[in-house]
Symmetry: D3
C-alpha cells in the first residue's frame, strides 16, 4: 500500500456528552483529533501506511495522544515530545436550531511552538507518495509555517503528490503573517487542491458564484494562477440544521467536470472531521480508483463520517463503498 | 436591568437518561425546575435581575436547589427552608410515538405547606417591575393560594406589571377550591395574560375555536370579562411526535393581532419548560422590545428550549435573537 | 389469563451506548434477550401467564438472566442451569446510513448444548394454550432441534395453538442439517404462521412477489402444502435508514386478506426485537381480540418497540392500544 | 422451603454515585429498598419462598418497584397499587470522617396511606411459617399501625413464628401515637426479638449497660415483661469511620448466652440494609440450622452486606457460609 | 458576616473518574478550582460574604466558571471576561503507591494575561475585612504579579487583614522574576502567614528543622524579618500513600505556640484543595473564634476536605465542627 | 531495545463498574487482556519491541482487540483473523470479604481453534531475544498446545531465552491431555521458570513447604529434573482481603537465593494481571539489570499493577523504579 505522510497539530477535543451544554455537565468525553491527523487515521484504518509528523506534550496527555494514533495504525516515530501543553478545544454539540460551539486553546501549545529543526524532513518523507497539509498549520504560528514550508519544498522537489486543503480560519493568523498570501505561497508547492469556490475566492481575491459554471471557472482560474495544481476536488455542504446535513462532491480534472449525487444524513451524530473524511477518502480513491470514482468515494466517506462520534472516520473502505453504492443503512449486518 | 419577581414551587426532576424507561434504568439525571423558577432563571441568564420566592426543604436537597438557583444568578434571599421534603417529579422521556410520562410527588412538600406569614411581600416586591405567576401554585394547596393572593394584591396596588400563565392542571386542585374560579379571581389582579383559546375557554366557560378570528374573539372576551388584562400572548404547539414539534406565537394587544412564523424542532431534546421559555422570552421582550418583536423573541426562545436538556432555557439573549433572525443552526460557531 | 409457553435461547446482548462504535468505547450496556423469550416477556408484561424453557449457565451470568426473566413475570421453573457459558451477541448500533452490526457467540453455549432429556415437556406444557417457537432454535444445534421437536409433537397432540416464526438465518445451521427441510418439518406441527413472502419462498422454494396478490397466493400455497397452518400473519418493514423505519401488517385467515396502515418510526431507538414484539402482540391479540384487530395490535406493538431500548417490548397493552388508535406520541402523560 | 411473609414500606432510594455530595452531582443511582422487603428479598435469593405485603404507587415507579421485587423471586400478589406516590429517601454516602446523610420523603406516600381493609390477611398469611415486621411500619401512620396489628393478631393466633425488629426511629411517630407504647404492644404478639440493650432500654424504660452480663439481664427482663418472646438475637456494630465497620452477634435463648466473633469490613461499600441482612440471615438460620449457628450465619450475612451496593443483600447462602467459615475474600473464584 | 476578598486564577480541572489513568479513559470529570477561589468558595458556603477577583475567558467555559462561583454564593462582579482561554489542569488520581499526576495549561490563559488596569481595586476592596492571596498568582505572569501588588498595597493601606499562603511552585516563575524575592516583597504587605518551616526556609534562605522548637524559631525569625506578619499558622501533612493521609495544625501567635491533634483520613477521596480548605477554615475561625480554636477548626476543615471530590470544601461550618469535636463519621445522619 | 515475542489468547474482559454485582448492573466496562499479551503490552509500554502471536475474530471485536494492542505499541502482524468468536470472561470484582468471581467463555473461541499451520514461526521469531509463554495456552485446546510446542521447539533451537509461567488452571485441560505432563514437557524447552513452590509441587508431584529453605530445595529439584531451566523467579502473594494485598519476590539463580521486601497495596484497584506485571517486570529487568535488581523491579511492577484498572500494567519503567526505590505514593507529581 502507498505511504501517506501528514503534518499538523494533534488536539484534544473535550465535549459534554448527549448534546448537553457545558454549564449543565460535570464530565466531558474526549477525543484526539486534528484535521491532518484525522486524514492519516482514516487512511491507516483503510489499510494505507501513514505517518504523522507533529509535536505533543511530554506529559501523560501527549502519551495518550500517541497511543491513540498508534491504535489507528499511524506511524508515530516522527512525533516529537515537548514541554508545552497539547492544544485542545471544547465542543458544545448543538441540536436542531441550536448551533454547535467551539472554543480553542491552541496558540501556545506544543505544536504552536514547533521549530523547523525539530523535523528531519528527509527521513520523514522517505518513501512517501502523498503528502497532505492544510491551511490550519501555517495559521497557528510562524514556527509551524516555517516547518511546513520546509516539508513542502522537499516534498515538491521529490515529486511527491501534495494535497492542499486551504481551510482558512479567521480566528487563526494572529502571529503577523497575512493568511491568504501564505496560503497562496504554500499551495504553489502542491498538486491537488481540496476546496471550492469559497476557498478560491478567499485566496485569489475573486468573487465567483456557487453554480456549476462558476465552480468550473474558479477552478480553471486557480489552476492558471497556481499552475502546480492539476486537480480540484470540492464538497459542498447543505446544512439544514445542526441535526440534518447533506453533502455533495464536485471536481475539475483536466478540464473535465464531474459531480456526485447529494447524500443526506439525518440525524447527524458528529459534524467534526467530515471534511477530513472527504480528504482521506479522496486520497484513498486517487490511489485505488480513477478520479471520478475517487470523488464519489470521498463524498461517501464524508457522509458516513457524520454518523460517527469523534474527529476520525473509523469506517473501513468496505463500509464506505457500501454507502457509495447506495446502501442506506436500513439493515442490520449479522 | 429591570427586576422581575417570581413565586412558585421548585421541584426536583428525575429522569432516566437516553430515553430509557424507568424500569430498565439504574440511575436518573436530576434537574431543579418549576414553572415560575424556570422563567426567573431564563431571565437571569439573559441578564435581568430576578428574585424567586419559595419554600424548600432544610436538608441537603434544599441546599442544592438553592445552589442551582444561585448559579443562574437568581436572588434567593426569599427562599425559605422548612422541614417538609422538596416536591419532585419523575419524567420518563418518550420518543417518536411513545409518549413521555410524568409522575408527581408534590402535594405535601415544602411549597405545598407554605403559609402567607412566611413571605414578607413588602420587602420581596421592593423595586420589582414585573411579577410572574402561574396557575400551578394556587392549585397545589390552600396555603399556596393564600400566599400568592397576598402577593398579587400588593403587586397590583403597587402598579407592578403582572404576567399570568393560567396553566390549569386537572391533577391539581385537590384541596377543595374550584380551579377556574380561583384562576379567574387571581387573573383579575394581573395585566398580561399568557395563554390562548384553551385557557380562555376553561376559565370563562366559553367554547371558542382555534382559528385566528376565534383567537381574537376569545382574547377580546377575556379582556372584557377581566379588564385588568391589557395584552394576550399565546403560543400554539403542533406536536407531531414526541421527537418532532413546532411552535408558533400569536397575540392581541390594543385590538391589534399579530403572529409569528412557525418554528419546527426536530429532533426534540426536551419538551419540559418550553412554555416557561416562552414566558421568559416574552417578559424579556416586553422590557427590551416592542410587543410584536417581544412575541417573536418569545417564540424563538420557546423553540430553542426544545433543544436543551432540563427545565430551564440556558440560552443567552443573543442565542435567541439568532434563532429569531432565521439562523437554523446548520453551522458551528468557532 | 391464558398461559403461553415459549422455548429458545436466552442471549446476553452487549452494545456500546450512544451509537458509539465498539472500538471507541470502554463500556457496553447489556440486556438479556432471545427471540422467543422476548415474546414471553412482552406477553408477561401485558398480563399473560408465560413460561420460558431454556438452558442458561450455572454461573452469575445465568443467575442474572433468570432474575431478569423473573422481573418481567416469566415463570422460570423450567430454566435449566448447565456448566456451558450463556450465548451472547455484540451489537454495534448504526445511525442514518451507517448499518448496525451484530457478532454472535452462541454455537457452543448452554442452549446449544441442550438435550431432549433436560426438558420434562409433559409438565412444562401443562395448562398451555399457546406454544411459540422460532426457526432460530433448530438452527443452533442438533440437540436444540431434537428438544424442540419433542415439544412440538407433544403440544400438537394436546391441541395447543402453535405459533411458528420461521426466522431462517444463514449464519446458523452449521451442525449438518439442512435448514429449510427442518423448518418445513417443524412448521407441519404448527397452526399459525408468522411470516411472509420471503419466508414462504425460502421454505417452499417458490418465488412469489411482494405485492398483495402474491402474498395471498403465497399464503394459500403454504396452507395447501402444510395444512396444519390455518392462519398467516406478516409484517413488512420499510427501512429507510438505520434511524427511520416503517412497519405494516398483513394477514390471510380463512381466505380473507386484511392489512394495517403503515406506521413510521423516526427516530428509531432500537430495531432489535421488533419482530418479537409483533409476535407477542399477535398472540395477545388472538387471545383477546378478533384476527383483524390482533393484526393491528401486533403492528402497533412492533412500531412502539422501535422506540424502546433493549430486546424486549416493555409496553403495556394500554400503551400499544393508544398507538393502534392513532396517538402519535406528541403529548406528555401526566 | 418455608414460607416467610413480610410487611412494610417499599422505598425508592436515590444516591449520588462515587461518594459524591448531592450538590456536585447531576445524576443519582436508585434502588428499591425498605427494611422488611430487604429481609424478604435476601431470603428469596437464598431460596426461601417469600411474600411481601405493601402498597405502591399506580404509576411507572410502582411498576418498577414490583418488577424489582419479582426479580428477587418475591411473591408480589399482595402488593396493592394506589394513587399516592411511592415513599423515597435520598442518601448522600459519606467517606472516612464524613458521615452519610439521609433525607426522607415518606410520610404521605402510598404505604403511609395504607388501610387495614386493603390487606386480606387471611389469604396473605396462608401457609406462612414466619412473619417478619419492624417498628418502622407502625411509626409511619395510624393506618400502617392498624394494618400491621391486624396481621400480627392473626399470625399470632395461627401460631406463626413472629420476628420483631423494633427499630425505633425518632424522626417517625408524628401521627399522634407514642412509639414505645405501640412497640411494646406489638412485640407482645411476637416470638423472636431482634434487638439489644438499646432497644430494650427504649421499650422498657430501663437503663442496662452494654457488657455481656447487662445484655443477659436486659434480655431476661424483656422476656419476663413480654413473655411471648422466647429468643433474643442482637448484633452490635462498631463504627470506626464511615468506611470501616465491624459487627458482632450475641443472643440469649432459653437462658443460654452465645456470641460470635467480630467481623471487620474495610472498606465499607454500603451500610444501608446491614441490619436487614442480619435479620434475613437469622431467619434463614433458624429454619435451617440451630440457634447458635443461626446467629453466626446472621452475623456473616450482616458483614458481607457491607460490601454490596444497595439496600438488599444479594448473597447466596453459600457466599454467606464461606464468610462464616472464615474465608476473608482474598482469592478470586474462577 | 465579614466580607472576604480573594484574588487568583480560576482553573478548569479535568480528571478521569474512578482512579483510571488518562490513557484508559474516554471521559473526564471537570471541576472549577484555583487555590484562592477555593478559599472564597468554602467561606461562602459557610456563610461569609466573599468576592473573587479574576479574569476568565469570554466563551462558554468562562460562563460556566462564573455560574459555578455563583452557585457557591461568591460575588462575581469583579470577574473580567477576556479572549484568552481559561487556564486548566489535568489530574490523574493515584491510588495506594501510585502517585497522582498533574499537568498544567495555564501560562498563556486569561488570568496570565491580566493587567493591573483591569481591576478597580478601590471598588473591589470596598468593605473587605480580609484579603487572601497565594504565591501562585505572582508566579504565573508579570501582569498577575503587578495586579496583585497593587491590590496588596491598597489593602495594606486600608488596614485590611491580609492572609498570605506563599505556595512556592518551582514549575511557575517562568517570566523572569525570582520567586523568593517576589514572595518576600509581597508577604511584607501581609499580616497573617499560612505556612511552615518549608515555606519559611524557602523565602528566607534558612534551614530550620521540622520539630516543634524549630518551627517556633522559624516563625519567630519570619516575624522578625517581615514584621507585618503577626501570626503564623501551619498544617503538616503525613502522606502514607495516595489513599491514606494525616494532617495536623500548629501555630505561633504572640510568642505562644499551640498545635492540634493529628487527624487521619483513610481512604482519601481527593487531596486537591486540602490546603485551601485549611486556609478557609482558618479565616472562618479567626472571624468567629479565638486563635487556638481557629487552628483546630482549620485542621478539621483540611481533614474533611480529603473526603470530598473536587477542589472546593463543600462542608458547612457545622460539618467541620463535628469533625473538630471528634466525630469520626461512623454514623448515618437521618 | 531487545525484541520479545509472546504467544497466547487475547480475551475480552467484561466487568460491572464500581464493585457492583452483575445482577445489579446494566453496563460493563471492557478491557482486552490475556496473560501473555499483558506481558507484551507492559514491555512495549516500557519501550521494548514486542510482538504478539494469536488468533482473534474477524468481526469488529477482533478489530478492536488489534487496535488496543497497537495502542500499546505491540507488533500485530502475526495476529490472525478467523471466523470464531473471540474468547471472553466476566469479572465481578469483590470487595473486602466478598471474593471476586470470574466466568469464562473461551473454549471454542478463535484462539482455541488455532492450528499450527496458522503461525509462520520462522518469521514470527525473527530477531527475538525472549519468548514468553504460560501454561494457560496448552490448557485451552490441542491446537493451541501443538502450535505452542512448534514455537517452543524452534525458539529453543535458535537459543532464544524462553520464560515459562506454568499457570496451571484446573478449569482448563478439558480436551484430553493431562496438564502436568504437558507442562513438564513444554518447560523442558524453556530457560527461565516464573513460579514457586506451588507450581513446582504440581508439576513434579512433590510436596515442598513454603519457607525459604523449602523454596530453595524445590527450585533446585526443578532445575535438576528439568535442566534447561537456569533461573527460578517467584512472587508470593499475601491476600488479606479482596481490597488489601501484599506481594514479595524470591529467586534462585546459580544456587544463590535472594528475596525482596514485601510491598503492601491498600486499597487494591484491580488484582487481574498482577502476575503478568511481575513477569513483564522480570523480563525487563533481566534485559536491563542484574538478576537481583530484576527481581526487585518485577516485584514493584507487580505491586503497582494492583492500583491500575484492567489487565495490563500501564506503568512506565520510571514509575516502577520509583516504587522499587520506596516511594509510597503519598505525593502529587506536578
Amino acid at each position: 500500500m502507498s505511504k501517506v505522510v501528514t503534518f499538523g497539530e494533534v488536539l484534544m477535543r473535550l465535549s459534554p456528552s448527549d448534546s448537553k451544554m457545558l454549564r449543565q455537565s460535570r464530565e466531558m468525553e474526549f477525543f484526539f483529533g486534528g484535521t491532518e491527523m484525522n486524514v492519516g487515521a482514516s487512511l491507516a484504518i483503510m489499510g494505507c501506511e501513514t505517518r504523522h509528523i507533529t509535536n505533543v506534550s511530554d506529559c501523560f496527555i501527549g502519551e495518550s495522544a500517541i497511543a491513540t494514533m498508534k491504535s489507528y495504525g499511524i506511524d508515530t516515530q516522527f512525533v516529537n515530545r515537548t514541554e508545552h501543553p497539547i492544544g485542545l478545544y471544547f465542543l458544545e454539540v448543538g441540536s436542531a436550531m441550536r448551533a454547535s460551539r467551539i472554543s480553542y486553546n491552541r496558540l501556545n501549545g506544543s505544536f504552536a511552538n514547533i521549530k523547523p529543526e525539530q523535523v528531519d524532513w528527509e527521513k520523514a518523507l522517505e518513501g512517501a507518495e502523498y503528502f497532505h497539509w492544510t491551511g490550519i498549520s501555517p495559521g497557528i504560528s510562524e514556527g509551524a509555517y516555517e516547518t511546513l514550508k520546509q516539508g513542502l519544498q522537499l516534498a515538491n522537489s521529490k515529486g511527491i503528490e501534495i494535497t492542499a486543503d486551504p481551510a482558512y480560519r479567521s480566528n487563526l493568523w494572529k502571529y503577523g503573517k497575512e493568511g491568504f498570501t501564505v496560503l497562496k505561497e504554500l499551495i504553489s508547492y502542491s498538486t491537488i487542491f481540496i476546496g471550492g469556490v469559497n476557498e478560491i475566492n478567499e485566496i485569489l481575491g475573486t468573487s465567483f458564484g456557487y453554480d456549476k459554471d462558476s465552480f468550473i471557472q474558479a477552478a480553471e482560474t486557480l489552476m492558471k494562477e497556481i499552475p502546480s495544481i492539476k486537480k480540484v476536488f470540492d464538497k459542498t455542504r447543505i446544512g439544514v440544521t445542526a441535526s440534518n446535513q447533506a453533502t455533495q462532491g464536485r471536481a475539475l480534472v483536466n478540464g473535465q467536470y464531474f459531480e456526485t449525487e447529494s447524500l443526506e444524513v439525518n440525524p447527524v451524530v458528529d459534524r467534526i472531521g467530515t471534511g477530513d473524511a472527504f480528504a482521506a477518502g479522496l486520497i484513498y480513491g486517487l490511489i485505488n480508483f480513477d478520479d471520478e470514482k475517487a470523488l464519489k468515494f470521498a463524498n461517501a466517506a464524508c457522509a458516513i463520517k457524520h454518523t460517527i462520534l469523534g474527529d476520525v472516520n473509523l469506517s473501513s473502505a468496505n463500509d464506505i463503498l457500501e454507502v457509495m453504492n447506495g446502501n442506506s443503512g436500513g439493515r442490520i449486518k449479522r
